[in-house]
């Protein structure tokens, strides 16, 4: 019991340490705006703090937290003032790529594709974006995503499929375009 108390006593601190990073990553992917993502991480944990006595362990804490964060992100995205995405750590062209050296091509290609994926991700409908981020990046199951998004598992499967398919088509098209450009140069 004492061990339990020790663990529980540190719970809020531990929860923040454990989940602030993933939550920040998720919100940044959703918003492409690090400053707002940080604000919403705070807001999410503030709501956790306020609602602590109403929390019932019907779902994992992480699912509950992602549900709060998703609602905050969707609200933010629907605000009229929501902006054109500004420079982010993953913004396209934000930082110069390192010089290509032996063995680095695959890494560079991955970064280029990652930037393209981030841009395409931001063009997806909000719920598709959230479903794909939660599934592909955060590793939630469809059941957990369904709870976070307050939709059915079948709807999650469809959302993720449409999101991933759209990105796959666009990225494959970009890749083919860049390969064609390389061929024309050489």
């Amino acid at each position: 019991m004492l061990a339990f108390r020790r663990g529980d006593a540190a719970a809020f601190d531990a929860l923040f340490r454990r989940w602030s990073g993933p939550l920040l990553r998720y919100l940044d992917r959703m918003l492409r705006d690090p400053a707002t993502a940080e604000e919403l991480v705070q807001e999410a944990f503030l709501r956790v703090h306020k609602a602590r006595d109403r929390y019932t362990p019907e779902a994992r804490f992480s699912t509950w937290l992602y549900r709060i964060a998703t609602n905050l992100a969707l609200n933010e995205l629907r605000r009229p003032r929501h902006r054109v995405p500004h420079q982010s750590t993953d913004a396209e062209g934000a930082a110069p790529l390192p010089d290509r050296g032996p063995g680095t091509e695959a890494v560079v290609d991955a970064r280029v594709l990652g930037r393209a994926a981030a841009l395409e991700l931001s063009q997806l409908p909000e719920k598709q974006r959230a479903a794909l981020c939660l599934t592909a990046l955060e590793g939630l199951s469809y059941a957990e995503v369904a709870e976070a998004l307050e939709v059915t598992e079948k709807a999650v499967k469809s959302l993720v499929h449409r999101a991933r398919s759209t990105l796959a088509t666009r990225l494959a098209s970009q890749r083919e375009g860049s390969m064609a450009a390389e061929r024309s140069v050489t």
């Binding site: 992917r29 990652g114 592909a136 494959a172």
Partner: protein, 246 residues
């Protein structure tokens, strides 16, 4: 979007579910059999996997070092009016309109706020397990294990620097359980200020303070210890949920 061949339509959505490992074993076997004989779905599966690889290659933001302190400051200013009134009534000499705490106090404020929140979580579970009539004396074992006041008092004193704060140490040092009707002095005030007026209602001040102090002591714990504790908490919560459902 590229047109999907008729023979692949029924599998298309499942390709993405295969990436997510969300198919039943039977459906996965059927799909894999189709993929083995379908060049288009083989290529499409690779493209879908590439999406995840591309997204995973994005650099993740680092959590700013002061984010926890900023959160603690927001928690502090967002306390319910009731707790503010309670604090004001008990400590009329303390102006509620005082300027914000300086940065150097942020860590202590954060620790106390987080510890208090953790105490609330524990009490919610503890009361739920024991039933609504929960108020009981603190188990002697827990009291005996209370951290030394010398280690734990400093952050609390920074939050409530009034001389009366020393009564907290005296109270924690007692061996006998706290009387239920004891007039609420410093401990409930501090707890209310940290966001726990409901603890005072439950007459569990001693428990909460003890837990809070343990949390502060645990602040220095390694991450793996904290995560282990978190997992323990989640297991217990899951077990409780299963018990409630059963």
């Amino acid at each position: 979007m590229t047109e999907i061949p008729a023979r692949c339509i029924e599998w298309d959505e499942d390709l993405s579910a295969l990436v997510d490992e969300e198919l039943s074993a039977e459906r996965e076997a059927e799909l894999r059999a189709h993929i083995d004989s379908c060049e288009r779905c083989t290529r499409r599966l690779q493209e879908l996997c590439d999406v995840d690889l591309s997204l995973a290659s994005l650099p993740a933001l680092e959590v700013p070092g002061d984010l926890a302190a900023r959160l603690a400051a927001r928690i502090e200013v967002s306390q319910p009016a009731a707790s503010v009134a309670e604090v004001s009534a008990a400590m009329p000499s303390r102006p509620r309109t005082a300027p914000p705490a300086p940065r150097r106090r942020a860590t202590a404020v954060r620790l106390a706020a987080m510890a208090a929140a953790a105490a609330a979580l524990l009490l919610a579970v503890w009361v739920a397990v024991r039933g609504p009539e929960a108020p009981e004396p603190v188990p002697p074992l827990a009291r005996a294990a209370a951290p030394e006041p010398r280690d734990a008092a400093t952050p609390l004193e920074e939050i409530a620097p009034e001389p009366e704060a020393s009564s907290t140490q005296q109270q924690l040092g007692r061996d006998e359980p706290a009387p239920q009707e004891q007039p609420t002095a410093e401990p409930p005030i501090q707890l209310a200020e940290a966001g726990l007026p409901e603890l005072a209602d439950l007459h569990e001040e001693d428990v909460a303070m003890l837990i809070a102090l343990e949390a502060i002591e645990l602040e220095a714990a390694e991450d793996f210890d904290v995560i282990a504790n978190l997992e323990l908490l989640e297991r217990l919560l899951d077990a409780e949920a299963a018990g409630d459902a059963g």
